[in-house]
Symmetry: C2
């Protein structure tokens, strides 16, 4: 059986996700990926050209998948209050080793240059904010939340606060674990939504 070019890429990215989970994106060697994908390092390079591009592509994949899971899962939550909690839980890192967030950290430390990738990255954060705004609007409509003057703006600010909380979790600052971050985020969000 033979895999088409895009399939091989996807296969490599899954291997990368696995490998990153085990060794972390900073210590990740091309060989770690190649081993897990069952191919040679040179072969992986043939498909991606640069180690960095593997990381970026992996983040894009991971973020794409999470976005899908997000919309799917949030669709099943009727209560907006609960939906906010669920979104926050999905957005924030599950711990200091959270793959998705460690990838983000890596990308920020060494940002891609090409405009197209940057645009996609911006799109991700925008999508999260819009999703949150949608939930808030629904909650306001149902009289569960206090009206917000600009839901998009509010949502964006909340996502920004969560970004920073995530960063503290990743750093492993004393007392800053996943539960703490969730608590902090919820407090900030509730502050504006509940009187």
């Amino acid at each position: 059986m033979k895999l088409e070019r895009p399939d091989v890429r996807a296969h490599v990215l899954r291997a990368a996700l696995l490998a990153i989970d085990e060794v972390g994106p900073d210590r990740l060697r091309v060989r770690d990926i190649a081993e897990r994908a069952g191919m040679s390092s040179g072969h992986v390079m043939y498909y991606f050209g640069k180690r960095d591009r593997i990381l970026v592509s992996t983040l894009l994949l991971s973020e794409d998948e999470l976005a899908e899971r997000r919309t799917a899962e949030l669709a099943t939550v009727a209560d907006p209050r609960e939906a906010v909690g669920r979104l926050v839980e999905m957005y924030l890192p599950a711990g200091a080793g959270d793959v998705r967030w460690r990838l983000w950290a890596q990308i920020v430390a060494r940002p891609p240059q090409d405009e197209e990738t940057l645009a996609r990255i911006a799109g991700f954060t925008g999508a999260w904010a819009r999703e949150l705004a949608r939930i808030v609007v629904r909650g306001v409509g149902e009289g569960l939340f206090r009206p917000v003057d600009d839901p998009e703006d509010h949502a964006m600010r909340m996502c920004r606060i969560m970004d920073s909380l995530a960063s503290d979790v990743l750093l492993g600052l004393p007392g800053c674990d996943a539960g703490w971050a969730h608590e902090q985020a919820m407090r900030a969000i509730r502050r504006e939504l509940l009187p």
Copy 2:
């Protein structure tokens, strides 16, 4: 003339700051620092042991110095409204290449393990928030700002929003330059302070 041990370290860190400004913390080679400090690479390693520790120490130095400049400079600003603007300007990156922020990004991507360093890092962000809170309290006292229920909490949230804005600037997301970040930060802060 002979430099004492701590002086040599400081000398190296200044060289590092210079070097980082020129090549960026990610591409920074130990040799880049050594050259600029007028010593051999081995010698630099003798003092720091690991390249990573140079980066961490450089961030700590840079952050210490900025904290000093901050308190010095803010003491000269009478109007709290102006002081807030000044603080925001000092906090946020001056551009995508901002040394201090690129160092932060590097540290988050590869966090130090030792508790003492982490505690110092946490201290920095705390100090920023306290400084902002102090200004806000003063402004409230003078009747310039709307009263805030918990100034520390407000300040921390604002700093978090700025962290995330900084990250967008560093990434070089389309439209996210230093001016944009300043504008966004000010809007978020004013939102709660001005009615």
